[in-house]
């Protein structure tokens, strides 16, 4: 019995010891797990902090690859594959209200910076924002993204007035919280699109590449839009914009695009380029969504910045200095003067223009869209095609003694109209395929041979395009767009 009691006691002690040992092990394990969880929580907090920085960077972009076929006999080649746009947009929202945007275009034609700007949003009323850098000029078609646009290119009018779409400057925007009004005012360099040359052809300023301004004059752009609700029918957006700018004169003549009115000005004077436009966009929920959009713009622009002529100087032979025996100069020496040939100058040209575009867009279900556009651009409203007769009636030839290059109306004064349509199929949000057809028509001139272009065709044969005839100038485009 004593022996049994001893064994029982030993067993109980062993079990108790084992239970205590197990408790100690569980406690150790718990502490270990707790430490690990604490460590992981700290790491997670650090990772979350790092990740939140990354969420401030947004990367988007798109690539447009296309095949085009041109029916103009002068198009060489008459069909081609190309990368129209290959853009990546980086947006960094540093803090609430401050945004940086950088958008390079990697198209093979050459790397270019499309957008590079900073936006400061007013954090108090949330109604104002200030943009500084290189950004889209305030205009409906300019600001409408190329990845969303219903036609493959912008209208001729907008391409002529706002080449490259962007400008360097600063822009203040007002978007009141409780009013569907949007006001924009921008102060821009305004040199974009201009190429200014010296008399010998050297380029002084190339607006497509410059990072600064050509002159001291800054251009002002204003735009106002208002969104009207039409209830269940849809909505109507109305707007207007104006461009009020100048460019520095580089020669002493400013010629109007009537090719008759010539004004004497000084080099350095401001030559005005002012225009105004009105726009509308009507959206209607009819059979799945449609819109009608249009804009009309008219005014005066500077189509060419000239340079002054060089007057001829006759050569003068050198005369040697002669002294007498006492060393006194009896005949004063004269250095030789080299002959300078007269070089004609080029006038600055101010053109009066007008133009418009009209879109009709219809969505067909969720995946398809049809779009039509008619656009018209007349770069010179002072002269019509029939006025261009080749008989020097409207040629600038005044003041020949001052050696100015005669300038007469030509191809650059002809109006163009383009009728285009496009069909889009959206495979999903990222992929869109477009088939587009554009028919470009030039205004005809009064007689054969007055305005013509010589060309060498794809087959090596030479030919002439006569603007007295209807010229073939249609383009078919098949484009695939991948967007992310």
């Amino acid at each position: 019995m004593k022996r049994f009691t001893m064994i029982t006691l030993l067993l109980v002690s062993a079990l108790f010891y084992n239970a205590k040992a197990q408790d100690a092990t569980v406690n150790e394990k718990l502490t270990e797990v707790n430490d690990k969880v604490t460590g992981l929580t700290e790491r997670l907090a650090t990772d979350e902090a790092d990740l939140s920085k990354l969420t401030k960077i947004k990367v988007s972009g798109y690539i447009q690859a296309q095949y085009q076929s041109f029916d103009s006999p002068s198009a060489v080649p008459n069909n081609a594959f190309s990368i129209r746009r290959a853009r990546v947009k980086f947006t960094y929202e540093a803090t609430d209200g401050i945004k940086f945007v950088l958008q390079p275009d990697f198209a093979p034609a050459g790397l270019s910076v499309k957008d590079a700007y900073v936006v400061l949003n007013d954090r108090w009323t949330k109604s104002f924002s200030l943009t500084a850098g290189k950004f889209n000029r305030p205009n409906y078609e300019v600001e409408y993204s190329s990845s969303q646009r219903e036609m493959v290119e912008r209208s001729a009018l907008i391409r002529a007035l706002y080449p490259g779409e962007r400008a360097i400057g600063a822009k203040l925007e007002f978007n009141p919280q409780n009013l569907p009004l949007h006001l924009q005012i921008a102060l821009l360099n305004g040199g974009e699109g201009y190429t200014v040359k010296k008399i010998d052809g050297t380029v002084i300023y190339d607006g497509t590449k410059e990072n600064t301004d050509y002159d001291k004059y800054k251009d002002i752009m204003v735009r106002a839009t208002y969104n009207l609700s039409l209830g269940s029918f849809g909505g109507l957006d109305l707007g207007a914009h104006g461009y009020f700018g100048s460019i520095r004169a580089n020669s002493t003549k400013l010629m109007s695009s009537d090719y008759k009115t010539i004004t004497d000005i000084k080099v350095g004077d401001a030559m005005k380029k002012n225009w105004v436009g009105a726009e509308f966009q009507l959206f209607a929920d009819i059979l799945g969504g449609m819109s009608l959009k249009g804009e009309y713009i008219a005014g005066k622009n500077i189509s060419a910045v000239g340079f002054n002529q060089i007057d001829a100087v006759a050569a003068v032979a050198a005369v040697a200095e002669v002294k007498d025996a006492n060393g006194v100069v009896t005949t004063k020496g004269v250095p030789a003067v080299a002959e300078v040939k007269a070089v004609p100058g080029a006038v600055n040209v101010q053109n009066y223009f007008s133009g418009y575009y009209l879109y009709f867009i219809k969505n067909l279900g969720k995946k398809n869209q049809f779009a039509f556009r008619y656009d018209y651009y007349d770069p010179n409203t002072k002269i019509s095609g029939k006025d261009i007769s080749g008989k020097d009636v409207v040629a600038f030839n005044a003041d020949k003694k001052l050696n100015w290059t005669p300038k007469s109306a030509g191809k650059g004064d002809l109006a163009t109209s383009t009728f285009g349509f496009a069909f889009h199929h959206y495979f999903d949000d990222n992929l869109r395929i477009t088939l587009a057809y554009d028919m470009v028509k030039y205004e005809k001139v009064s007689a054969a041979g007055v305005v013509k272009d010589s060309y060498t065709a794809n087959d090596g044969k030479s030919g002439t395009l006569d603007y007295n005839n209807t010229l073939k100038n249609n383009t078919i485009t098949l484009r695939i767009q991948a967007k992310f």
Binding site: P180, G234, Y374
Partner: protein, 282 residues
């Protein structure tokens, strides 16, 4: 050139023919309806779909959450037919819809909701004013004792920025930036769970999710009475954080979609709104 040129006859004829072609293109009526968006509304939307499909066996309605912003993006991308949103569509979103579908969208107010402030049941604080809530969620009030509670640090829980509730609460209550310490959680249920477990927590979300936590009464200002979000206080506009819940469509509904929307707005659909803890639109 001196006169603006008009369309020539050939171009005009082409336009007329093409317009005629597209004029007959009707937007196809949806056989299958997809609904995506607000997490606040997801349980209500699922209930609507479930009950509607029982009485309409041919209808196929698929409901997912993700947040109001996600739903509206899906509507713009064509990935959903209905976007549920616990906030109004932003002007930038409307612009995107205009650009892609040439419509301004259709807004259907389908229910009302009171954004509820969740507290742990052990919390001594039972009511807060909008100003106090703003200061708490901005991080300016950091301790419960500053609003009559215990001496303990306030733990903030909220929604992700894709959530309509996040936006609505920010615009109407916080009126500024949320404190960086506010922990964002994916869904109202997650906020409720977090508050349930943490005695010092405060969170916000839809009234329908408030289970197992204390609901905080809310005062418009210091001198106003405090109210709970109830059908009565919401109907009388007494509860200060009341909002409409919306369904957004690309176009005016037709066919199966119209039948479904009409049913949601009918007494039968609105009865489910009350059953699920929300408030009817009328």
């Amino acid at each position: 050139m001196k006169k603006m040129k008009s369309l020539n006859i050939r171009n005009f004829a082409i336009i007329v023919v093409l317009l005629g072609m597209v004029g007959f293109a009707f937007a196809p009526a949806a056989d299958r309806i997809t609904v995506k968006g607000s997490d606040t509304m997801v349980i209500l939307a699922q209930k609507w779909a479930e009950v509607y499909m029982k009485s309409n066996p041919n209808a196929a309605i698929q409901v997912t959450g993700g947040g109001s912003g996600v739903g509206i993006s899906a509507l713009i991308n064509g990935a959903t037919d209905i976007a549920n949103a616990s906030r109004k569509m932003k002007p930038t979103e409307k612009e995107k819809l205009k650009a892609r579908y040439n419509t301004l969208g259709v807004e259907v107010a389908c229910a009302k909701d009171g954004i509820t402030v969740y507290l742990h049941p052990s919390n001594k604080v039972k009511e807060l004013s909008i100003k106090q809530l703003s200061e708490i969620f901005k991080g300016n009030i950091k301790n419960w004792k500053e609003v009559g509670g215990a001496d303990a640090e306030i733990k903030l829980y909220g929604r992700e920025n894709s959530s309509g509730t996040y936006v609505f609460f920010q615009e109407n209550v916080v009126k500024g930036d949320y404190a960086p310490s506010c922990q964002t959680l994916p869904g109202t249920a997650a906020v409720v769970n977090a508050v349930k477990k943490d005695p010092n927590a405060i969170g916000y979300g839809g009234a329908a999710y408030a289970e197992g936590i204390e609901i905080c009464k809310v005062k418009k200002d210091d001198n106003s009475p405090a109210y709970l979000a109830t059908a009565e206080t919401i109907k009388n506009n007494e509860y200060p954080i009341t909002r409409y819940l919306f369904m957004y469509l690309r176009n005016k509904p037709t066919g199966a979609m119209k039948s479904y929307i009409d049913w949601i707005l009918s007494p039968e659909g609105q009865k489910l709104v009350i059953e699920m803890g929300y408030f009817p639109v009328k």
